[in-house]
């Protein structure tokens, strides 16, 4: 007799623990306005991305199509996986002196691990991290980007 009572109590206790769990899920089931699901991509307009979010490396240009990159190549050395290639050219200044300048700042987005080391190392602050995170493309060759815009030149007063 005793064993039967113990057996039934065990079953009832078991059911009680299940109901305790169900109570938690039911609470959320009947209060759906408290939900946490984000309706991406419908909410693109209201989506808030943290300002420090490391989505890609970009080189900001001002309205005169000028950037701050001197072509020193420090970012290239600091990159752990060779995502940056710096191609420089030499400019002849008015006084006849030669000066190094950036020709192409090539950035391989597909290889980048978003570690921030290049941005941290750049002495002039020419590159920063952008917040764009939607990087899906049809052709991977489009992941190789040239960061300095065509026809751009270095800002007045930026020295290395």
């Amino acid at each position: 007799m005793k064993s039967i009572i113990a057996y039934i109590t065990e079953i009832l206790k078991g059911i009680w623990t299940l109901l305790t769990g169900m109570k938690v899920t039911a609470k959320y089931f009947f209060t759906p306005w408290k939900h946490v699901t984000q309706q991406y991509p419908e909410n693109r307009k209201t989506l808030k991305i943290a300002e420090r979010f490391r989505g890609e490396v970009i080189m900001p240009h001002n309205e005169n199509n000028e950037h701050k990159c001197t072509g020193c190549g420090i970012c290239e050395i600091n990159c752990p996986n060779g995502s940056i290639e710096i191609i420089t050219k030499s400019l002849i200044l008015e006084d006849g002196k030669k000066k190094r300048a950036i020709d192409q700042h090539i950035y391989h987005l597909g290889m980048c691990t978003f570690c921030n080391l290049c941005v941290k190392a750049c002495p002039t602050g020419a590159i920063v991290m952008g917040q764009n995170f939607e990087h899906a493309v049809w052709d991977r060759s489009t992941l190789t980007k040239v960061l300095n815009q065509p026809g751009s030149k270095i800002m007045e007063g930026v020295k290395d």
Partner: protein
């Protein structure tokens, strides 16, 4: 040695009524590409032989050609759930070698970040453990709360998982102005959510039946196999480096080392649940007292370690993580070795799972909290 011989399975040894099956490398409960060769008699496990190497990425070898700040960012990718602690280990090792003293502020922030990622890691472990036991609901509850921590990481570190926040010499950025407010809001919220975890899973009759009294690991065996972290502490092995070898700001906080002497699957579960409360208490003690100061010391452009061997260990969410650097004075290390907790923990599985059912093996593996890149590196 006998033990080793026992693990080696050759097809001749298999009796007629036993069979070998591969669990993994693609199996939902191995959480990645881990292959377990299981020798079964019916449903009873006779032998488990883990085969690792399916996602070996050669991080130790790669590190030999990288500079010290660059090595840190690779350790994010080993135990990605303890990325902060891994970063911290490399940073501390390099700082110790260079005898650089980082500001108090850095130490406090590092400790808070480590505890936050321990919380996030345990949350993920909890929800995945529920899922392994067939309770899919827990998965959503755990991830819901983990999201808050990841948002805090995103705001301050700029990344959610591979944060690369602790670098040799300090931190990548200072904390975000909202950091303290957000962390406090999270702790307040999570204190109401954690009891919900208990109501959902800890008392659940199906769950307790499957975990209580299943898969014992004794203290002696835990020490013999080098099992550390919550898994070791559930067997009564007092191995919390935060207590025994305090680093960063752990010597300034009061917290309990959670120990259990039962050593079964349920004990491992409970140790982690209790650790979440302790982590929250550590964060609460530090969050209002972050000292003012710099967030990094100025390091040289090229970091060169003096010749010699340097070792630093930290407590990650999985156990003891060690960084061993051999330097020959150049800007790259001569050799780097990582002692990862997952690797040592995993190889106790044969000892534990022997004699239990195959379903128990899933439960046991789940309480080991395996992260495969941590094991394979």
């Amino acid at each position: 040695m006998d033990e080793l011989r026992e693990i080696m399975i050759t097809t001749d040894e298999i009796k007629t009524d036993e069979y070998l099956i591969n669990m993994g490398p693609q199996h939902p409960s191995t959480h990645g590409v881990l292959r377990l060769l299981v020798q079964l008699e019916g449903e009873i496990v006779h032998n488990v032989q883990p085969h690792v190497g399916y996602i070996h990425s050669g991080i130790e070898k790669m590190a030999e050609s990288l500079s010290y700040p660059q090595i840190g960012h690779l350790t994010d990718r080993m135990d990605y759930l303890s990325a902060h602690q891994n970063n911290e280990a490399v940073a501390l090792c390099v700082e110790n070698a260079l005898q650089v003293e980082v500001p108090e502020r850095v130490k406090y922030i590092r400790t808070i970040m480590s505890e936050l990622s321990r919380l996030a890691s345990h949350q993920l472990w909890w929800c995945v453990m529920g899922m392994d036991m067939g309770a899919l609901t827990t998965f959503f509850y755990g991830l819901r709360d983990r999201e808050d921590i990841l948002d805090i990481f995103e705001e301050t570190c700029g990344a959610r998982l591979t944060v690369n926040y602790s670098i040799p010499g300090g931190l990548m950025f200072d904390i975000h102005p909202n950091f303290q407010r957000d962390v406090k809001a999270f702790i307040k919220k999570f204190k109401t959510k954690l009891p919900e975890y208990d109501r959902l899973l800890s008392g659940n009759v199906i769950f307790t039946e499957r975990t209580k009294g299943v898969g014992f690991l004794s203290k002696e065996d835990a020490i013999a196999y080098g099992v550390t972290g919550p898994t070791g502490r559930a067997s009564g092995f007092s191995c919390d480096l935060r207590k025994h070898r305090p680093y960063s700001a752990y010597d300034k906080v009061n917290f309990k080392e959670i120990l259990s002497d039962v050593g079964d699957t349920y004990a491992r579960y409970q140790v982690r649940m209790a650790e979440m409360w302790e982590s929250m208490s550590i964060i609460e003690q530090l969050i209002d007292n972050i000292p003012e100061g710099d967030y990094a010391v100025k390091m040289k452009g090229v970091v060169k370690l003096p010749e010699g061997e340097f070792y630093q260990r930290v407590e990650t969410a999985r156990g003891e993580f060690g960084v061993f650097i051999v330097s020959d004075g150049k800007k790259n290390p001569y050799r780097v070795k990582f002692r990862s907790p997952g690797f040592s923990n995993l190889f106790a599985i044969n000892h534990i799972a022997k004699g239990w059912k195959i379903a128990d093996l899933v439960a046991i593996m789940s309480t080991f909290d395996l992260v495969i890149p941590d094991i394979d590196r």
